[in-house]
């Protein structure tokens, strides 16, 4: 009874949800439409006499033209020959960041989930405090650090800061997963004479696989999303540039190739969108399970 809605309430809920989703998806829809329109159509405006408002028909004409095609999706590879390289770089960087981060996250999260020890809560708080100092504040010393090791203009210039700023969230997320694995299983392994490392490898890790996947995807999405700042600051080599920085090549001195730029953006989003589509159920459930108080 409690969860039943009247017809009017139902209409209200669906309308509100529709509005909410429209706001969230509008830029993507508009990007897609722009990518289909030839540049001439994109840059044409209905003639509106001074003092009159644009008519509805004129307004709608921006959404449709006979010449709409997927041409931009072919031309973009010619305009920016490096495009495949940029997309590869984005995927490669995000993948590298994910795997390297996990190497640091897994042992630390295990320690926080399983043991009570001196300095536990203090160090955990310190890890989380890192969230306060995002990359933008630390750019100068990071620039110096990377230059000191000769890592500027390499993949490492984008991987190292990426890893560092994703470790704290990774630890926090994985910790909540590992805490749900019953301790008795480990005790049983101990009783049978297994070492701690053996237990971690053979008992805990297999059970933690779902959690690891969720944390891995969360890190991947974060790494894919945050490439821009490090890329424009620490890397000038076009061979290592990720897509968000490479897209700027569609902006010329004379004109901006909006249709190709939008096409390239949408294609560049596909890898992360695919991962999200396949995993969204686990991801949403996984990300939120840690946020709820027991």
């Amino acid at each position: 009874m409690m969860d039943k809605y009247s017809l009017l309430q139902k209409i209200g809920i669906y309308t509100s949800i529709a509005l909410f989703i429209t706001f969230m998806l509008l830029p993507f829809v508009e990007m897609f439409i722009a990518s289909l329109r030839p540049l001439t159509h994109l840059f044409s405006r209905p003639e509106v006499p001074v003092g009159e408002t644009m008519s509805f028909v004129d307004f709608m004409s921006r959404f449709w033209s006979d010449k709409m095609s997927f041409q931009a999706y072919r031309d973009m590879w010619v305009t920016v020959p490096q495009l495949p390289r940029y997309i590869f770089n984005s995927v490669f960087l995000a993948t590298a960041v994910t795997f390297i981060s996990l190497c640091f996250v897994i042992p630390a999260a295990y320690a926080y989930a399983r043991f009570s020890f001196k300095g536990k809560s203090v160090s955990l708080t310190l890890f989380l405090a890192v969230n306060m100092f995002t990359g933008a504040v630390l750019l100068i010393p990071l620039y110096k650090l990377l230059r000191m090791y000769g890592l500027l203009n390499t993949y490492w210039a984008m991987i190292i800061p990426g890893v560092a700023f994703l470790i704290p969230q990774g630890i926090w997320l994985l910790k909540t997963f590992l805490e749900k694995i019953p301790y008795e299983l480990e005790e049983a392994a101990f009783v049978d004479g297994a070492s701690r490392l053996y237990t971690l490898r053979r008992v805990i890790l297999p059970l933690a696989v779902p959690g690891l996947i969720v944390v891995g995807i969360a890190i991947f999405i974060g790494a894919y999303a945050q490439q821009f700042l490090f890329a424009i600051t620490f890397n000038q080599n076009r061979d290592y540039m990720p897509l968000p920085a490479g897209i700027f090549e569609f902006i010329g001195y004379q004109t901006v190739l909006w249709n190709e730029m939008m096409a390239a953006s949408l294609v560049g989003v596909l890898p992360v969108l695919f991962i999200f589509l396949f995993m969204q159920k686990h991801l949403i459930a996984g990300l939120t399970s840690g946020a709820v108080k027991e």
């Binding site: 320690a111 043991f115 630390l138 110096k144 968000p244 730029m261």
Partner: protein, 313 residues
């Protein structure tokens, strides 16, 4: 030597555990030290020097408080700080309100809510820079959807470039920031709402409490810890937000969207004034630190007065 080793050898089981735990944490801690702690110290040190591109690796002179005097005494500094906080409060406020509305809608017992939940996520999944390219086109004065729509609806007289005027550029950047930040806030509020025990609602329902009353008196107090911690986290991120403003306006027009982070980036990376840039970075950290302290203290009070759990542990 062997004495030294003897000294650190664990003697009790608790010590063994502590040692083992720290051995597991050490790699992550070292990375943090290398990429966050040392740079923080270095930023602080550089802020007292006149370091530039040529003297970054060494040789910069110590200039005392000069950078701070120049930065704080600068003509634009007060307006930049005010703008940064206004940007933060406005954006976070909107994200929390929209997040609450969105989460309530998505928590309602309707058909298709699984799909709706997934459809809300893209702004958060997609790289920030790419979402911003979409908004760049939306805000375009002659050919963008928003300007065209405003013309048709008679709101504006002729084309209107949203990013070309001081006021509209600022609020346009806020809208984009809200767009990017809302999905995550919504998701966590939704999770918190689903964690509220059902019997609370059932008891209230039996007693004849209205939906709105149940939201105000059960949902809100129950999810308050999540709201508070998300608001703080979101505030820190918004304060530090760089890409959105940079791609949309690069801090313009005429400084209308220049927040502290943009100012820091411009000074340090674009003009290679590393000393002066570091000073601004230190000021960012200080302001954020003070803000967080005040926020947490106020919450402590409110928590005592109204019996909230305070910040989520």
């Amino acid at each position: 030597m062997s004495n030294l080793i003897q000294m650190f050898k664990p003697k009790t089981k608790a010590q063994t555990t502590t040692l083992f735990a720290w051995a597991l944490i050490a790699p992550a801690a070292l990375v943090m030290f290398w990429v966050v702690v040392w740079p923080l110290y270095e930023t602080f040190r550089l802020s007292f020097t006149n370091s530039t591109l040529g003297t970054l690796m060494g040789g910069a002179e110590y200039v005392g408080w000069e950078n701070y005097e120049k930065a704080i005494g600068g003509r634009k500094f007060p307006s930049i700080v005010t703008r940064t906080f206004y940007w933060m409060f406005l954006s976070v406020g909107l994200k929390v309100v929209l997040g609450l509305i969105g989460a309530t809608l998505l928590a309602s017992n309707i058909r298709g809510r699984g799909i709706f939940r997934a459809l809300v996520m893209p702004p958060w999944i997609v790289p920030i820079a790419i979402g911003c390219f979409g908004w760049l086109w939306l805000y375009n004065g002659h050919f963008g959807l928003l300007s065209n729509f405003a013309e048709m609806a008679g709101i504006t007289d002729g084309p209107y470039s949203f990013l070309a005027y001081k006021q509209s550029a600022f609020y346009s950047a806020v809208v984009t920031d809200v767009w990017i930040g809302t999905p995550m806030v919504t998701l966590f509020f939704l999770a918190a709402m689903q964690g509220v025990p059902r019997d609370l609602y059932e008891a209230a329902y039996v007693d004849g409490a209205s939906r709105w009353y149940r939201f105000r008196r059960i949902t809100m107090p129950q999810i308050m810890p999540t709201v508070i911690s998300m608001a703080l986290l979101s505030a820190i991120w918004t304060f530090n937000s760089f890409e959105i403003i940079w791609i949309l306006t690069e801090g313009g027009p005429r400084g209308a969207t220049t927040t502290l982070i943009i100012d820091t980036f411009k000074t340090a990376i674009f003009s290679y004034k590393f000393g002066a840039g570091a000073t601004r970075a230190v000021l960012v950290c200080l302001l954020l630190g003070v803000f967080s302290l005040i926020y947490l203290t106020v919450l402590g009070w409110v928590g005592k007065k109204y019996g909230y759990a305070g910040v989520q542990k």
